[in-house]
């Protein structure tokens, strides 16, 4: 019995599309040309959305905004795998997920414009409000998954969060419960390697985030987060497993925050330009373009057209957003309680 081995664990990394745009045929997920085209357009839509949002903030037309530049594959690829009944508990930096799932674009902008009315997801789209308190949405997803299981619904619950969030107790308590109750869940970590100015190595002493799943008794996998096919494949497999009663999966999408943390941040203060330049070369959109190009399905012109199309969609949304009347003061009281307290009623009248 002396010094006995009681557990062996291995963490793996999934990549499908290399940086030259070559897909591993054994790992390439089943996707129609049309689906791949759609993915590409969504990634461009996310890119254009992001560019416009940053510009709107600079012009003072919306408030502080957290760019998703560089994370398009991780967001679009994962959301693309979801089914309509699934539930999503996002953080605040997954606009690519919202866009993929068809969340109204004007509403996204309206939210970042400081209007909480925009957090109301359309009926039928189970996306929880943006969650600014890092990691605190994770236990909510656990609860929804408990409810899914209790109701015997076919849904899976997905929660998104960043590398920084893995340091929070919420992450731990949520992952642990998901393991114990073997819940139909997928934990998707957008490891963009920075939490504001704090680099990954100050966030954790581990070599991967995926290995953290060892602490919870279920599978964790790292995927190349700039590889939309790998992200899609890992998510789809995890969703299938969850739907089949196989329990939760933790997916680390290793990607990079190419922009500032938010429009209120200046990343130049704390990270070397070389690092950013390196990752700029790994742009997830470029990589997909290389793949398409090799198949004869892409030319630079294709990008221009797709971007123009995206820009029209976004511009419409901006107009729509800017036509929304500001909330009336009385809307302060909207939804605070199903029925206001007498004091609230008085306060509302007194406004």
């Amino acid at each position: 019995m002396p010094l006995e081995s009681i557990g062996k664990f291995e963490t793996k990394r999934l990549g499908v599309l290399n940086e030259r745009g070559e897909a591993d045929p054994d790992l390439m997920p089943q996707l129609s040309e049309e689906e791949i085209r759609r993915m590409y357009e969504l990634m461009l839509l996310a890119r254009v959305f992001d560019e416009r949002a940053v510009a709107l903030q600079r012009e003072g037309r919306i408030g502080t905004y957290p760019p998703i530049l560089g994370q398009e594959a991780a967001q679009v690829g994962s959301a693309f795998a979801l089914s309509p009944g699934d539930w999503v508990f996002p953080s605040f930096r997954e606009m690519g997920v919202h866009l993929t799932l068809g969340f109204p674009i004007a509403q996204l902008l309206q939210y970042w414009g400081g209007d909480e009315r925009a957090q109301k997801a359309p009926e039928g789209l189970n996306i929880f409000p943006f969650c600014v308190a890092v990691g605190s949405q994770i236990p909510h997803a656990v609860g929804a998954a408990l409810a899914v299981r209790y109701r015997r619904d076919p849904a899976v619950v997905v929660t998104y969060f960043g590398d920084g969030a893995t340091s929070k107790g919420d992450f731990h308590e949520g992952m642990n419960m998901a393991g114990v109750f073997k819940l139909p869940m997928v934990f998707i970590c957008q490891n963009n390697q920075w939490a504001i100015s704090v680099p990954l190595k100050t966030q954790t002493a581990t070599t991967s985030l995926a290995q953290k799943a060892v602490a919870y008794g279920f599978e964790g996998v790292q995927v190349d987060g700039n590889d939309v096919f790998a992200v899609y494949r890992a998510t789809r497999e995890a969703l299938e497993k969850a739907r089949g009663g196989g329990g939760p999966t933790f997916i680390e999408c290793l990607t990079y925050r190419m922009a500032d943390h938010t429009t209120a941040d200046d990343a130049g203060r704390y990270r070397p330009p070389e690092e950013v330049a390196l990752w700029r070369e790994r742009d997830p959109i470029t990589r997909l373009e290389r793949f398409l190009e090799a198949r004869g399905a892409w030319t630079p012109q294709r990008r221009v057209e797709a971007k123009e199309k995206a820009a029209r969609v976004i511009d419409d949304a901006i107009r729509e957003m800017e036509n929304v009347l500001p909330p009336a003061p009385a809307e302060l009281f909207d939804g605070v309680l199903a029925a206001l307290t007498p004091r609230q009623t008085g306060q509302k009248k007194g406004l």
């Binding site: 909480e116 009926e123 605190s136 929804a144 209790y150 949520g174 419960m177 605070v336 307290t341 007498p342």
Partner: protein, 320 residues
Amino acid sequence: MAQLNMVQAINQALAYEMEHDDRVVLLGEDVGRDGGVFRVTEGLIERFGSERVLDTPLCESGIMGAAIGMAAYGLRPVTEIQFMGFTYSAFEQLFAHAARVRSRSRGRFTCPLVVRTPYGGGIKAPELHEESTEALFCQVPGLKVVVPSGPYMAKGLLLSALRDPDPVLFLEPTRLYRLIREEVPEGEYVVELGKARVARAGGAVTVVAWGSMLERVLKAVDGYDAEVLDLLTLSPFDIGAVLASVRKTGRLVIVHEAAKSCGFGAEIAATVAEEAILHLRAPILRVTAPDVPVPLAKLIDHYLPGPQQIRGALDEVLQY
């Protein structure tokens, strides 16, 4: 009608509602096989199964967060936090989430959640087992706070809480769990949230109390022409009832077992000083614990307000 103690009355309310509404599920540490450390959920796992009565890992914040997700999904979760002192680690989930699900999602999601927790002092238990920090939670817009004062009220209030569309913190005065027996109807009845109860009518001074202090107050006022209000719901509290009584008596004494500073007595006093000051003939006195952490057993009796202090305050305001 059966004579029940508060543990039994709460158990009955939970069982009744679980029987009639399959959205009601319980979760918490030891609520299942053990029936809860105070046996409040005794027998429920046997009756409703382990899918509706969940023994969870030890993680109050996670439990609270999960309950929020369940509620948003359409269930009506009831969490038991083993002692009020352990709600502190779940504070963010309650404050920033449970209470804001409806407003953040503008009604797309809601949070019909009941958080039950034993509350208050006098049971000679370890550290953090006798907290009474209700005022922390009364400060949270979107959250209701309820404190029963006996078995009958406990059942009726809990049934209301279980049907409330919004989150309710249900504070169960631990000292009363088995202290009082009352007639409790077996079937369904509700006590409306937000309404105080005149526990004793009187004309010369109004005494406001709740939870386990009520019992103490009722004993202490013997011989005084005091009107005693049992607040029952602290948030939102029954401002109308308090003002009506104070306008009649002209004097107000508030009794609570929490420390004085920023205790819930402050809100009551401030409200009266705002709305009915011209009816007051005397200072508004607060009879409370001192501004110190809740002590262990050897000092707890000196910490909790006693009958002498209550009578002292009555005598003082009656001088005016």
